[in-house]
Amino acid sequence: MSITGVTATLSSADARSAHRNDQPARVVNDFSIQVATVNGSGSQTANNVLMRAIFQMGVPVSGKNLFPSNIAGLPTWFTIRASAAGYIGRKKETDFLVAMNPETGVEDVEKLDAGAAVVYDEPLNLSRVRSDVTFYSVPFDKLTVPVCPEARLRKLVRNMVYDGVVAHLLGIDLEEMRKALYKQFGPRKVKAAELNWNAVQAGKRWAEENLTKQDPYWIERLGTSGRQLIIDGNSALALGCVFAGVTVLTWYPITPSSSLAEALINYLARFREDPETGKATFAVVQAEDELAAVGMAIGAGWAGARAMTATSGPGISLMAEFVGLAYYADIPVVIVDVQRAGPSTGLPTRTAQGDTLKNVVLSHGDTRHPVLFPSSPEECFTFAGLAFDLAERYQTPVFINTDLDLGMNNWVTDPFPYPEEPIRRGKVLTAEDLERLGGFARYRDVDGDGVGWRTLPGTPHPAAAYFTRGSGHNDKAQYSEREDDYVNNLDRLARKLEALRGDVPPPEIQLAPGAAIGFVCYGTSRYAAEESRDQLAREYGVAASYLRLKAYPFTSELERFLEAHERVYVIDQNRDAQLLGLMRLDLPVPLLGRLRSVRHYTGLPVDARSVTNQIVQQEGL
């Protein structure tokens, strides 16, 4: 197969049909690579190096790790998508497979579309499975032994050999791969980096000498990565918290949120030690459970700290009682929910938007909580600061709902903007204020926004104290079971939500002129939604508008968007259309007939094709 010819802007699907017709065409910077390995084999490093090398060639790229709830020995798949057009959502089809796992090899190959390419470990003998894909058989063990004399390291180093093979086949700049590798190992592991770099070179050399390129897939330099960087959403959110001035973090480990807390702990230790004394301007407690984790955060928020916890669905369930207390007692706290699929024995390492509805109404009685929906590392960073400001400004629990896809996968992003706005600590009365005012009523709505003024424990003034309780209280924070006091309090809390509505980030909107249909999405669904919009336009000639929610409570833009479109497709990564359910609760009844649902709940990130297919079906296209 010739490797000359025009650099076609063909999609991989076009290329596959071209391949079938024996008319080779190059597919450049628009395909997906899947690496199938066993978890615990150290393949993550090799995969990150591969992704980073492509990134350094200026090609838009995304990486998604599909891993089991297990420490070692079960199948994992890492998918890298290169897309010159900038589509970074999951792509359903694999174009280029690296099959290293004997357990899943056959099935992985069977799942491919015709025209795909497969690099496989020789003993797996996968070329027998089918004849309509391109196979490259590589003797990984034989290649590893000479570069890695130490037998116990071979399992790890072996993965680097496939990086070299793939670099050769796809035309990845080896110098970029070398830089990526040394970056990945860092300055303190130079020896390990050398060993691994030898393995990459061995793979590359062997491929040069033994393989003939037969597939159409190529990576070509588009530039450089410039100021861009690679980060996972959890680290981005952790950084956001550091710069938002978080002072107390209390948490309990749960995938996929643990790496957020761990990243935060590292960043705090580096950036938040007092320069003069070396002491900590923060406190971190790994609590005994999520009840304690959120209880401590609430205690800290009550006493004036910028306090947070991070968890996932099962932890949120345990936090439910406390969140109700914080809501009724007006206590600021930030709760990050890195969502995953289902209960603890469900799909803890798979992604979902499973807590959308739950977090809005979490707890007992009448509760409504603001929830932020970041969709990118940059929003993870900026929304962290926003969440603390909202929590303290409105004296209430604020949720940040991310998910495993955003939190644990690596994303390419522009650098984050340094927060220019001052930290907003909300309505706090000092001893001097109290001296001037003579006293205060904790829950009196003096400003009409449902938010009373508070004092912090330790305020040196005899009029500073008030008594906090979840049960009925009047506006002076006195115990009360009177009907009017209870109603007044609930109504005040409702006014608070109204005021908050004006302070949450408005949705991102892209109107297609004359479009009859629109998309509503939130969080990580945006990538599939954006791409699906283009698919509908390209393949069906259907224009669709787009609205991405960044927060609950909903703002007026959403209502106007519904008014402007006949049918609005609400994309949820859950079975029960939770966002759509919330819209049903909150929006005017005459608009509800316009709502349609698109749902994806396999545990994998939603992909554009799945969205497009559901819309095509419902639109009868």
Binding site: G245, V246, F271, A297, A300, I423, G458
Partner: protein
């Protein structure tokens, strides 16, 4: 001048009258042991001259947990959720470790629903005073057994408890609390001395106070009734408390007295009764409690004191100022820090 002869004062060393340490009117049943503990707390904080605005008082849920509303009306209070005051108080202390913290809990609140959080507070040695108002039942939900009910103890309706009780003092000693005492709400002098001493302790003080529930657990057959306690209280020592701001010397017979100096300089004098008891000896304390498990007697007094262990906030290495009110320039790292973090990821 001897302590016993100290003239009654109208104001404490801050010039505050006792009224500044009172709270709202109690809504508990007449004769409830919890009310007596409330009285002792008021006295203790007043006599020690603690500024009320430096105190936070927290609780879970139960009759006992209502009591923070009845003392220290000039202190911030928090009646939180059932069993979890330990967690909330831990968080509050993290936010401001300069505060003096008192938690009031019940036996149900601590030993049943809150046992997990209680245990971990012990491990951490969180600097606060944790009072368990122990009546062997759930008062507020009308008299069900709690996990501290003794084997053979009978409910009003005749049901007998067969389960071994959880001894919160034993747990406290084993798991890391550094001041552990047991008392009886009816033992004014002892309880008062223990509370005042606990205020001067820098780690976690756990005080289990047998506090009869007159409504649901004060009958014949109960082991937490007033009459049972009057007959079965077995004080380890006679306690005499000397606050750090009073300079008093007492003559005493060699070998009859032990003295524990609290972190604030106050002194607790333990006069020997039937046995020589060393409250700094952990094994001794544990053995004594086990020894009394089956006798039906209730050992009271200072069970254990450890002044060497770091408190939780000390071990966290926090800056001196409260985290809650650190200014922006101390909690938001500079621009270069963000640029550095970004550069590392390029």
């Amino acid at each position: 001048m001897s302590a016993a002869a100290a003239p009654p004062r109208k104001t404490n060393r801050l010039g505050l009258e006792v009224i500044s340490y009172k709270g709202g009117k109690t809504t508990l049943c007449a004769g409830c042991g919890h009310n007596a503990i409330t009285e002792r707390l008021i006295e203790a904080f007043w006599e020690m001259g603690v500024a009320p605005w430096k105190v936070i008082k927290l609780s879970g849920i139960g009759c006992s947990s209502k009591t923070p509303a009845y003392f220290l009306g000039l202190s911030h209070g928090f009646n939180s959720v059932h069993g979890r005051a330990a967690a909330v108080a831990t968080g509050a202390i993290l936010a401001n470790h300069q505060l003096q913290c008192i938690v009031v809990s019940g036996d149900g609140d601590t030993a049943s629903i809150g046992l997990g959080n209680f245990m971990h507070m012990l491990r951490r040695n969180v600097p606060l005073v944790y009072v368990i108002e122990n009546n062997g039942v759930y008062g507020l939900t009308k008299g069900q057994f709690s996990a501290t009910a003794d084997v053979g103890s009978r409910q009003k309706n005749g049901i007998v408890n067969e389960m071994p009780p959880i001894d919160c003092c034993l747990a406290a000693i084993e798991m890391g609390a550094t001041f552990v005492a047991r008392s009886f709400s009816g033992d004014k002098k002892q309880l008062s001395a223990i509370l005042k001493a606990s205020i001067g302790h820098h780690g976690l003080a756990v005080i289990d106070v047998i506090s009869p529930c007159t409504t649901f657990n004060d009958h014949e057959g109960s082991t937490k009734s007033y009459s049972y306690m009057r007959e079965h209280e077995e004080p380890l020592h006679d306690l005499h408390f000397v606050p750090f701001f009073e300079d008093i010397s007492v003559d005493y017979e060699e070998g009859t007295l032990r003295e524990v100096v609290m972190h604030d300089g106050s002194r607790l004098r333990l006069r020997k009764l039937d046995r020589d008891y060393d409250p700094t000896d952990r094994m001794h304390a544990v053995a004594a409690l086990h020894e009394f498990e089956t006798t039906g007697e209730v050992l009271t007094g200072i069970l254990y004191v450890d002044k060497t262990r770091e408190s939780f906030t000390q071990s966290l290495g926090l800056v001196d100022a409260p985290l809650a009110t650190l200014p922006q320039d101390r909690v938001r790292p500079p621009r270069e820090a963000l640029e550095q973090a970004m550069e590392e990821l390029r």
